[in-house]
């Protein structure tokens, strides 16, 4: 079942690498311009539930990695699709035409990492209440420095006696 899917994907698309780490997971690494076509291909095959869109910040390699996790409603196979974009001026294209429930995931990634999604109807703030210089989930955002600068220095509690 899963190896048949792997063969079909490899014959339909070039430039992608597929790994099967265990018997119900498939990991695809693809360049960024083929992501939408692979997603619609998988949706036609019956994998029509988008579970998660996530983002990892590889600061040493100077890249962001977008991760799409797709399941099917009947089988236990989960497919992880990964693609990398550059860290300076990150841009990507929205996947709402394929999966309708991608909208809040992309809004959250835009707010917390600073990635711009073209074609998204409303990229307004979702969780955070103010603007930050560096988007807060990036690895160069120092949480302790932020706490010291933004909140007043709280005096250390002394012992009673």
């Amino acid at each position: 079942m899963i190896s048949a899917l792997k063969k079909e994907l490899e014959s339909a698309f070039k430039n992608i690498q597929i790994v099967i780490p265990e018997d119900n997971r498939l990991t695809i690494t693809a360049p960024k311009d083929t992501v939408l076509t692979i997603l619609s291909f998988l949706k036609d095959k019956g994998y029509d539930h988008l579970a998660l869109i996530s983002c990892t910040d590889w600061i040493e390699e100077k890249e962001f990695e977008l991760v799409y996790i797709i399941n099917s409603y009947g089988e236990k196979i989960s497919i992880i699709l990964k693609s990398r974009i550059s860290r300076e001026n990150p841009q990507f294209i929205t996947t709402i035409p394929v999966f309708e429930n991608a909208e809040p995931y992309e809004r959250e990634i835009h707010e917390l990492y600073g990635i711009n999604f073209e074609g998204h109807p409303r990229l307004t703030p979702l969780f955070l209440e103010r603007e930050y210089e560096i988007p807060p989930f990036r690895k160069d955002f120092d949480t302790r420095k932020y706490v010291e600068e933004f909140f007043d220095e709280i005096p250390f509690v002394e012992e009673n006696k």
Partner: protein, 623 residues
């Protein structure tokens, strides 16, 4: 389900069935008049037993919210050799989330959680406190009659109200050591094969992963080695890094990895409810894994300073001071009367514990740094001490205790002395032993002598009945030898006779030794604690034997120092050479360290003294 499920619209009168609850008792508790008892595992406020707590600080390291800090309590005393610090944990309840991770990692099990959880107060600084226990804090813990829920707070708590406690089966640390493979007793008593086989890479990594990095061992070690750093390097599979860390304080790891007295393992926090981390075996693993120290360390001596230093004695102290001074650029010459390096370590510990190749590996490395060794040179005979004082800018005395003491009972001159026996067997020619040997003494040297004599008996009289017996003044509870030495000697079949003292050596008609007449010991130490044995003269026992060896202690040989210089030496009341904070004696050019200065009488304290003396000599030479 594929069939359509039944939908019951229900009748209008059904809900009125609930009216019968009007006549039932309500289930709400009328708190605080009907209080609810918390469960037996409730996670409430902390309790700490100050007698068991060692101040190691593991609870502060693991807290995910940084709620615990260690504060110093001036009323308590630090005891570094037992691994006790005078610090105790202090909690901030504004940050604590009552997760209980600090309970699961506490090695002595002194930190527990209680079933109290109420505290209401106007001032915020009462929420930060140092937890105690009902043993040490009588006023805040009240029995059930005097306790009232309405006044409950951190200063009004109930006695005997313990909750979540530590359990060794579910703890976050591993209490068992990785077992070290040994050669079995039946095989090892037949020859001088090295008893300990050594860890391989997986076992060393697994043992290194047990260390909790609390650093109590570093304060107990006399030389203050950076133990947790070198164990971390072994865990990360970098033995070269580990060797560099060891060499900052100890240049003879191959020797110490086999015979060190392991003060660190006595202080290890895991040894309270489990087994300590095997620090000595890990050092031995590093020293054996790296074949060539020089290419790994890549250290070169500094620019030549033009000063010359003489070191008398190539024992652990002498070798270390030679290494440290050579790194600073001075020219060092080491004199020793034995044919090789190591000093007491070369003749003392038997071959099954410390083979000669291990000693030579360390000594050759120090020689390759440019230190000149003059072996088979006895100061006082082959070269005069006055000439050394003239030709060299500074002198270090690492002469140790080389003369064996004797019991001086009747016919004692027929007995052998321990150091002569060991030296002949190790680096001279083998002694012919008798079939029944008696060893007088209860210390580590006596154990070495007895186990060596046993092996020689098996090698020289194969398939015959042989026996080795020991006789010591001390009974089992105060026998000075280490516990595992006594256990291993018992496994090999040595017969012990504790609390008997030697009275007379009995000879036969031809003048050969027939046995030892012993008398029962009444006490070993007097009321002031000084060594003054007393005996029951009427209770006697005769032990048969054809060879007796005395192993009751050693003294220093100062005969090479000329009389005018010797009178200028100052001694302490325990009859050791007096040195100041730089290792300098009362004679300006002469520095000293090792067994003639300290009371521990082991290798690592000699290395510690040598390090201090090396700094002192360097300062003296540059001024």
């Amino acid at each position: 389900m594929t069939k359509k499920s039944k939908i019951n619209k229900g009748s209008f009168l059904d809900p009125f069935k609930a009216i019968r609850f009007l006549w039932k008792k309500p289930k709400t508790l009328r708190y605080p008049f009907e209080p609810k008892e918390p469960a037996l595992r409730c996670r409430g406020f902390h309790l700490n037993d100050w007698d068991k707590c060692t101040g190691c600080g593991n609870c502060a390291d693991i807290c995910p919210n940084e709620a615990i800090t260690m504060v110093e309590i001036p009323e308590l005393k630090s005891k570094p050799e037992e691994g006790i610090k005078n610090e105790r944990p202090k909690l901030d309840y504004g940050r604590c989330c009552f997760c209980g991770l600090c309970i699961d990692i506490c090695p002595p099990g002194s930190l527990r959680l209680s079933r109290d959880y109420f505290h209401i107060h106007f001032k915020t600084d009462t929420f930060s406190f140092i937890p105690k226990d009902e043993k040490s804090d009588k006023e805040n813990f009240l029995p059930a009659e005097k306790y009232s829920v309405l006044k409950a707070s951190l200063t009004h708590r109930k006695k005997d109200y313990e909750g979540f406690a530590s359990d060794l089966k579910y703890s976050l640390f591993e209490p068992e050591q990785v077992p070290m493979p040994h050669v079995k007793p039946e095989e090892r008593k037949l020859s001088f094969i090295e008893q300990v086989i050594g860890y391989n890479k997986e076992e060393a990594k697994k043992e290194a992963s047990r260390c909790l990095e609390c650093k109590l061992c570093e304060e107990a070690c006399p030389a203050h080695l950076k133990i947790s750093d070198y164990i971390l390097a072994i865990y990360e599979d970098k033995p070269q890094e580990s060797l560099k860390k060891i060499f900052e304080d100890n240049p003879i790891p191959s020797i110490c990895g086999r015979i060190c007295m392991k003060h660190c393992e006595e202080a290890c926090s895991l040894s309270i409810r489990g087994e300590a981390v095997a620090v000595r075996w890990l050092k031995r693993y590093v020293a054996d894994t790296i074949k060539d120290y020089k290419t790994t360390l890549e250290l070169e001596p500094a620019r030549p300073s033009g000063k010359k230093v003489a070191v008398i004695g190539a024992g652990p102290g002498g070798l270390s001071v030679a290494y440290f001074l050579r790194l600073k650029g001075h020219e060092v010459t080491v004199f020793d009367s034995l044919p090789g390096g190591g000093g007491m370590v070369r003749i003392g510990p038997p071959l099954y514990r410390l083979p000669i190749e291990a000693i030579d590996k360390d000594v050759n490395h120090i020689a390759s740094m440019g230190v000149e060794f003059k072996f088979n040179t006895t100061v006082g005979k082959d070269i005069l001490f006055e000439n050394i004082m003239k030709d060299y800018n500074a002198v270090y005395l690492g002469i140790g205790t080389t003369l064996s003491r004797s019991t001086k009972v009747k016919n004692a001159e027929k007995c052998l002395l321990a150091l002569n026996f060991l030296q002949e067997n190790k680096i001279g020619k083998e002694e012919k032993v008798g079939k029944e040997i008696i060893v007088i003494g209860g210390g580590n040297v006596a154990m070495d002598v007895a186990r060596e004599a046993l092996r020689l008996q098996h090698m020289q009289y194969p398939d015959q009945e042989v026996i080795t017996k020991t006789v010591s003044l001390e009974d089992w509870d105060i026998m000075p030898a280490k516990k595992d030495e006594i256990e291993e000697a018992k496994e090999e079949g040595i017969q012990f006779n504790p609390a008997w003292g030697p009275k007379e050596v009995v000879l036969d008609e031809k003048g050969n030794v027939k046995g030892l007449l012993c008398m029962k010991v009444k006490s070993v130490f007097d009321e002031q604690g000084k060594f003054a044995p007393s005996f029951h003269e009427d209770k006697e026992m005769f032990l048969g034997g054809d060879m007796i060896i005395e192993a009751i202690g050693q003294a220093t040989d100062f005969s090479f120092i000329p009389k005018e210089l010797f009178e200028k030496f100052e001694f302490t009341e325990r009859r050791k050479v007096k040195v100041d904070g730089n290792g300098q004696t009362s004679i300006s050019k002469v520095f000293a360290g090792g067994d003639i200065v300290n009371l521990n009488l082991d290798a690592v304290t000699a290395i510690a003294d040598a390090k201090i003396a090396a700094e002192g000599i360097d300062k003296h030479l540059s001024s």
